[in-house]
């Protein structure tokens, strides 16, 4: 008497198959490393284009997926939600992230990257002339805000001496060009897009406001989720090394890098070339976030009330140091095949 037999089989057979599929999928699944980036001249785009991530993916059985964000704040929110394992962002958002989230700064990958723009025929000569003017900025969480405060403070001015207007970074050169605002502080490549139009000019570069690393301002940092860092220090190292190799390539062959960036982020090649020639974004093998630089940077953010007095950024310079050693040991100039 087996009245329940076929019924049980109907249930158990698909159940067994489903379990096997699930177990199999788990065993063979590739782990995804979500890499937060912004559509700018980040060395990670060059690393990707040059295929530096492919051997990492093969060796560690992972998939590096770029997740693009318009600016640093949503990138940090994604990291706070656990959706990103590694990210590259402006030094302001990067330092906020490694102070407030379970994340660690592992490298500095771009210098400068910020400037104050004015209309080409503006009578303003320096940031000291901004008193009483309307200045567009990309928000309090951007590094542009504390840099603007610093530029004003250098002239004995404060934020209350100007009218601030919050806008998105790429819109700021357009607002300046149309004279909707008297000046604007933003990031690159938006700065270079504005300069290439011929309708705006530089009022001040970041290095004139806060030179803290070999005469330059620190523009961009790479930071990693602590849990990922602890679980995969080898993958973290490989990704940092890929970045440093890419920086070396940019230094060796700026024209090739401009072409690759243009293909990757859609910014015209001449705009990127202009950025490199005028030093709007500066690349250097000074990639190690030293305690001295970070102490100066942290004080800068605390002075601007962006960080709380109790905030302490987590920094791990050993990854960048090792990457630099590896790249310098096998340093060759890799030209882009045109």
């Amino acid at each position: 008497m087996n009245t329940h037999g076929p019924g049980w089989r109907r249930i158990t057979t698909p159940l067994v198959f489903a379990t096997m599929l699930l177990v199999g999928a788990r065993v063979f699944a590739q782990e995804v490393v979500n890499y937060g980036v912004q559509p700018d001249t980040d060395p990670s785009f060059i690393a990707k284009a040059r295929g530096y991530f492919a051997p990492i993916e093969k060796q560690y059985h992972v998939k590096v997926v770029f997740q693009q964000f318009a600016y640093g704040a949503p990138e940090n929110q994604a990291m706070a939600a656990g959706a990103l394992q590694i990210a590259s962002a402006g030094m302001g958002p990067a330092t906020i992230a490694v102070s407030r989230l379970k994340a660690t700064l592992v490298a500095i990958n771009i210098l400068e990257q910020t400037a104050i723009l004015v209309p080409i025929d503006s009578p303003l000569k320096s940031p000291c002339d901004l008193k009483g003017k309307t200045v567009a900025y990309p928000g309090i969480g951007s590094q542009q805000y504390p840099l603007l405060l610093k530029a004003l403070a250098n002239c004995g001015l404060t934020a209350s001496d100007i009218q601030l207007f919050k806008s998105s970074g790429p819109d700021i050169p357009v607002l300046v060009e149309h004279k909707s605002v008297d000046a604007g502080i933003t990031w690159d490549p938006s700065i270079s897009v504005g300069l290439a139009s011929g309708k705006v000019r530089l009022l001040a570069k970041a290095e004139q406001i806060m030179p803290i690393m070999n005469g330059h301002y620190v523009g961009n940092g790479v930071y990693v989720q602590n849990e990922f860092l602890a679980k995969h220090p080898d993958i973290t190292q490989a990704l940092v090394t890929a970045n440093v190799k890419a920086i070396n390539d940019i230094l060796c062959d700026p024209a090739g890098a401009a072409k690759l960036w243009s293909e990757q982020i859609g910014i015209p090649e001449n705009v990127i070339t202009l950025s490199l020639k005028q030093g709007i974004s500066v690349y250097s093998l000074d990639v190690i976030p030293t305690p001295q630089v970070m102490a100066a940077y942290t004080k800068f953010l605390k002075d601007a009330a962006i960080l709380k007095p109790t905030d302490t950024p987590r920094i791990e310079p050993s990854f960048a140091a090792k990457a630099l050693k590896e790249v310098e040991a096998g340093k060759t100039c890799k030209m882009h095949a045109t």
Binding site: A73, I96, G139, G141, L164, F165
Partner: protein
């Protein structure tokens, strides 16, 4: 007002506030439980205590007061402007079928457009000052007042109109002034109350863009610098102010004989 009468009013007010107080306590207890059980990063969800400290800090340094004042001023001015335009227009539309037929298509075409969708146009038309923000709130508050007023006029009891005529309102204007307007007031107040709520929602969105003061700005900044405590303080202030204003309107509604 005698002492027992005052005591009765206070006791009634306390009774009405009790459910809200219980709701607030439940929210805080659940919030603390979630924090205790899940140990989230403070940037994702701070404790109620940390948020309370941030709240007190912002009250002490005056920032919360200034931001709340800016938001309230923007909402009140836009809401008053809406009331000035929408109430007379609504009274006329409710009384004249011809005018309603002319105006209604415009209302129905524009009404579904969210006030938030007007933000880019508001910046282009009114610039980065107060005008743009007031315009966005105006859009959000205008239609609820207008539609409630029209509905109020249409719902005036014909018995009242007949009574008005019997008691000497011989002209249409006199009937309108002495019967229609007072009889539609409860509905107008409902519209004003609803509009204040929608205006409050619109101002927060308007302040997320192109502002450097206000509770929306406080929230946006908190998000930008991963200060969830500031975001929650902004949200709590909005909830508290919204509750106080709604209580005011409910009291007003009771005065005009409407149910709250």
């Amino acid at each position: 007002m005698t002492r027992p009468h005052r005591r009765r009013i206070l006791s009634a007010a306390a009774k009405r506030s009790l459910p809200f107080l219980i709701a607030a306590i439940v929210i805080v207890v659940v919030w603390q439980l979630v924090v205790t059980l899940t140990h989230p990063d403070p940037s994702v969800l701070p404790t109620p205590w940390a948020t309370a400290i941030a709240f007190v800090g912002l009250v002490r340094n005056g920032q919360l007061g200034v931001d709340a004042l800016y938001s309230v001023a923007r909402v009140v001015s836009a809401w008053l402007l809406s009331a000035i335009v929408a109430i007379p227009l609504g009274l006329l539309m409710g009384s004249s079928l011809r005018l309603e037929r002319i105006v209604n298509p415009f209302v129905e075409l524009l009404r579904p457009i969210s006030p938030l969708a007007w933000i880019p146009m508001a910046i282009l038309w009114f610039g980065i000052g107060e005008g743009g923000k007031v315009f966005v709130v105006f859009v959000g508050t205008f239609f609820p007042i207008l539609l409630s007023t029209v509905a109020g006029v249409k719902a005036v009891d014909p018995v009242l109109l007949n009574a008005g005529r019997v008691f000497g309102c011989t002209s249409r204007l006199a009937l309108f002034r002495r019967v229609v307007v007072p009889a539609s007031l409860p509905s107008v107040v409902v519209g004003l109350r609803v509009a204040f709520g929608t205006g409050w929602a619109a101002i927060i969105a308007a302040e997320l863009v192109a502002a450097h003061t206000g509770l929306g700005y406080l929230i946006a900044n908190g998000m930008d610098i991963l200060r969830a405590d500031l975001v929650l303080v902004g949200m709590a202030a909005i909830g508290l102010l919204g509750f106080l204003f709604d209580a005011f309107f409910r009291a007003l509604q009771r005065q005009f004989g409407g149910s709250s």
